[in-house]
């Protein structure tokens, strides 16, 4: 095996890992703020992909062009899901929360099948088509753009949490709901915001993926499992942790498929995760 090939594989793993990370930070944000694991998170991604697809199929608009609209749309979907369902189970036991978001997952998948048929679809030409060469290596432009978009979005979320008043309020709510309430922060608003941002992140990932990935009602299932791993690996609630875990998992996945057997690449990723939580139950960057 050549060094180029190795490097090529490694970098394409990182490119994909960054998109994984973008799906996961939405999930981890929601978890961090309100201790709920959203099983329907992959479906936000799916909706993002379909939004991009239909804008393209109906009006010929490129997924990259409609990206801001997709983001807004998914933000609204996230807030709506919170308002209509999640708000009512905020204080319910963990078990019924699992039950509710799992029900949402089935509902959304069914809805997509009902509205858009269980077919595979794709956006067959986009402004980001083509290849880029870099130091003797070649990458698909859509993959590079998607990874770049994922990094930008992740950075934006991170900066939002870190440098804005609203972001600080969100973090305060995540750290201690009661204390945040005493400071006059409206927890309900923060929860809705977390769902909005979380869904929007998945929406961005979906729109970016739509430029090169097949679109179908169950597409979320592929991503949700990895997103769970990233959230647990990075530490529940840690955006930065999910980001690094995404890169790590992207590398392990391609290298596993490359050096061993593609059929077992998930085994490798999941085993890595189990080993990490065995030594650090709170994940790589989670608070103990």
């Amino acid at each position: 095996m050549t060094v180029e090939l190795l490097l090529q594989t490694l970098l394409s793993g990182i490119l994909f890992g960054l998109v994984y990370a973008l799906v996961a930070i939405g999930l981890t944000l929601i978890f961090g703020v309100m201790d709920i694991v959203n099983f329907a998170h992959g479906e936000f991604l799916m909706f993002g992909m379909y939004a991009a697809f239909w804008a393209f199929a109906l009006w010929g608009l490129d997924p990259i062009v409609t990206l801001p609209l997709t983001t807004l749309l998914l933000f609204a979907v996230g807030v709506a899901v919170y308002r209509l369902v999640i708000r009512r189970i905020t204080d319910a036991p963990m078990l019924s929360q699992i039950f509710a978001t799992f029900g949402l997952m089935i509902f959304f998948r069914g809805l997509a099948q009902y509205l858009w048929k269980p077919d595979f679809r794709s956006v067959d030409h986009t402004i980001v088509a083509g290849k880029v060469a870099f130091a003797g290596l070649q990458f698909g432009l859509p993959q590079v753009v998607a990874a770049g978009g994922a990094v930008l979005t992740t950075a934006a979320v991170w900066a939002f949490l870190r440098f804005t008043r609203l972001g600080a309020a969100l973090e305060a709510t995540a750290a201690d709901k009661e204390a945040a309430a005493l400071m006059g922060i409206d927890a309900q608003k923060m929860f809705a915001l977390a769902w909005g941002i979380g869904a929007a992140c998945a929406g961005v990932a979906g729109a970016l993926l739509a430029t090169y990935y097949p679109i179908f009602p169950e597409v979320g299932s592929t991503f949700i499992l990895v997103a769970f791993v990233l959230v647990a690996l990075g530490g529940f609630g840690s955006v930065v942790g999910a980001f690094w875990a995404g890169i790590l998992v992207g590398i392990v996945e391609v290298m596993g498929g490359f050096l061993w057997d593609p059929a077992y690449k998930m085994v490798l990723v999941l085993s890595l995760y189990l080993i990490v939580v065995w030594f650090r139950p709170q994940g790589l960057m989670g608070k103990a």
Binding site: L95, L111, Y114, M266, V267, L270
Partner: protein
């Protein structure tokens, strides 16, 4: 509640025993078998997930262990599936110990996620292994063999009564656990693990007991499934959606209650079958839409499960005081 519950259980039992006399429609019998198999899984899950509060979302691994061990033994070595059922239970219990050793250190969501990972690993390994049938799975030989061979073609009734028997046995194990010191300890661990330890309760030991019982019983359900369907593959016996469904049954009925998972299975299977029959024909996911929406509605309006409808609602602990003033 207690007397009403017993009466209800006896009534249900009588109805269950008499059910095949009421209808000979194969679809109904099939639905009833499915219901009881589902209930048995929920009851088995309940020992670990309900009483001990260790929410496993990887129970399909144990179910699959039961299905695969008995199938391999009977297909390759001609061993009776009844013995295979025992062997499967032992293998699953061993797998449970293997899973529990690292995972019991994890709490709440962390534990649930780790069990998903374990389930997915087992599924991927079987998927990739030719010796275990890979993604294609196994067909079990057809043909009536009588009781010892565990294949019945002429009528589905033997499966019905075996499923009922297995369900009752599983409920029986729960009942015994629940009334012994183990049951008290499991509930203590679920409520306040640190307090339980201060009273001399070893967390790993008792969680492990719950795991072994739960995994073993789940595997027995897996063997029954394999013998009834006469076909197994990773998708049908090892998937995470099966794991989640097992948990849902118990949660829907009321986790940590004796009869809750049975109620949950009855309701869930009824909803599933009804939506499938009513809307499934279109192939357009209408059944999923209705089914998913119903799950959400139940979770929102009956968070403690159906069994919660029958118990007196314990008053909630006083809510934390509202913030006095807001400083925007």
């Amino acid at each position: 509640m207690r007397r009403g519950g017993t009466a209800l259980a006896l009534l249900g039992l009588a109805a269950a025993v008499a059910f095949p006399l009421l209808t000979t429609r194969v679809t109904w019998q099939n639905a009833a078998i499915l219901m009881m198999m589902t209930a048995q899984l929920g009851v088995a899950w309940n020992i670990l997930g309900g009483y001990a509060g260790q929410v496993s979302l990887g129970h399909a691994a144990f179910f699959g262990a039961g299905a695969y061990v008995s199938t391999l033994l009977s297909v390759k070595l001609g061993v009776s599936p009844w013995l295979g059922m025992g062997a499967g239970a032992v293998v699953a219990a061993g797998l449970g110990v293997l899973v529990g050793t690292p995972c019991f250190r994890l709490k709440g969501h962390y534990f649930a996620m780790a069990t998903i990972a374990v389930g997915e690993i087992v599924q991927a390994l079987v998927n990739g292994s030719d010796a275990l049938g890979g993604a294609v799975g196994f067909n079990l030989p057809l043909g009536e063999t009588g009781f010892w061979g565990f294949v019945f073609n002429r009528s589905k009734l033997p499966y019905y009564y075996i499923a009922l028997g297995l369900l009752l046995a599983t409920v029986g194990v729960n009942w015994i656990v629940n009334r012994s010191h183990v049951g008290y300890y499991l509930r203590a661990i679920k409520d306040e693990p640190d307090a339980a330890r201060s009273l001399g309760v070893s967390l790993t030991r008792y969680k492990m007991i719950a795991m072994i019982l739960s995994a073993g019983l789940t595997a027995m359900g897996g063997t029954l499934y394999a013998q009834k369907e006469l076909f197994i593959d990773p998708g049908s016996t090892l998937s995470t959606s099966l794991s989640i469904k097992i948990a849902l049954v118990a949660i829907l009925g009321g986790a940590g209650t004796l009869w809750g998972p049975v109620l949950g299975a009855v309701v869930l299977t009824a909803i599933e079958e009804a939506t499938r029959i009513a809307f499934g024909g279109t192939g357009r996911g209408t059944d999923l839409v209705v089914y998913g929406a119903l799950l959400v509605v139940i979770a929102v309006f009956q968070p403690s499960g159906i069994a919660g409808l029958f118990t007196r609602r314990a008053p909630r602990p006083p809510a934390p005081p509202e913030p006095e003033a807001r400083f925007p």
